[in-house]
């Protein structure tokens, strides 16, 4: 379900149980660089948010001092899924309760966007709000309830080879 005209945005927030330099956070903070490298070399990785002049986005706290944000872009859901759950990133997820407080609302949101323009962090926050308000929709969804890119919807008949259409014309 890869489509060069659309990319998948992934945005999540995590509420830290302690400041990042606290000894109790060592297990997380010591792995940040390695996991970011792992992401950058993962198939389908496109982009990740990084603070200017830094290696990561841990210094950016647009939603409050205790909230880390993680914002990345992927070619498709499968690439993101495989990185998230089928690399050493899984070990980090397994330990997440030690470093991040449990949230009663959604903390991770996905959505498709035209690949020439990466949405702002404000837009990402808006998508998370959409998910929290309406549950998974094509505009804001989750890894467990994914939606196809917009191009997987039936295209105008003009771009299809004549006679090759298998679906009824609109």
């Amino acid at each position: 379900m890869s489509d060069p005209r659309h990319h998948l945005a992934q945005f999540n927030v995590g509420r830290l149980t302690a400041p990042l330099d606290d000894p109790s956070m060592e297990g997380f903070s010591s792995q940040i660089d390695a996991v970011n490298q792992l992401a950058e070399h993962a198939p389908g990785f496109v982009w990740r948010l990084v603070e200017e002049g830094k290696e990561d986005a841990t210094g950016l706290r647009p939603f409050g001092d205790s909230y880390l944000v993680n914002y990345s872009v992927w070619e498709d859901v499968e690439s993101l899924w495989n990185f998230t759950y089928r690399t050493d990133h899984l070990a980090l997820l397994r330990g997440r309760r030690q470093w991040f407080e449990r949230m009663d609302t959604a903390h991770l949101v996905l959505w498709w966007f035209p690949s020439d323009n990466i949405p702002s962090v404000e837009e990402a926050g808006r998508r998370l709000d959409l998910l929290r308000e309406h549950g998974p929709t094509p505009e804001a969804f989750t890894l467990r309830t994914p939606f196809p890119p917009p191009s997987d919807l039936p295209r105008p008949t003009s771009v299809q080879p004549s006679g090759a259409s298998t679906s009824p014309n609109p």
């Binding site: 089928r86 899984l90 449990r102 467990r144």
Partner: protein, 215 residues
Amino acid sequence: MDDSSIDAAGALADPLRRRLYEYVADSGGEVSRGEAAEALGIRRTLAAHHLDRLEEAGLLEVERRRVNGREGPGAGRPAKLYRRAGHQLSLHLPPREYELAAHVLAEAVERHGAEEAVHAAAREEGRRLGAGSGAGSVEELLRERGYEPEEAGDDVRMRNCPFHTLARAFPPLACGLNLELLRGMLEGLGEDGDRARMAPRTEGCCVAVSKNKIR
């Protein structure tokens, strides 16, 4: 429960067919009619008949490919290669919905943040399984439990994930549960539980067990 599950189970009632199915599954890959016939010491036409019956029942998948790199006219028909089908067959009589229950319980555990309790319970269950198994080795126990172990360098890797559908829906939870279960099984056998570690990959089980003692 759907009719296809009953058909599939019925197809395995024939002992020869069951041996063929096990041979293909154990191979971990693709098997030709000739290879299967030779392995079981039966005629090729007989092997072909039963392999095709297993395919009809949805237990095997078939790929047609020319072997030996022959192409073009005179290359002959492509060979049929059989491998175990990816989908899962469940048969419970009377109907039981354990998988549905597992998904609901997993959702509740995530909502409540109770992973630590799951890990502890899995470790204890693993120890019981290991201690009560009577298996002579780690690999024997893994085989008994359906993990389909195979050697891979310094590790034992497992071709089958026993929690596949749960692990697709709740990866950190199911894989974490499995890791602790395996660590417990090792301990139940008197081995070091830390020989099992998380080492995810796209196919099979996400846990690797080192062949040698760590300490």
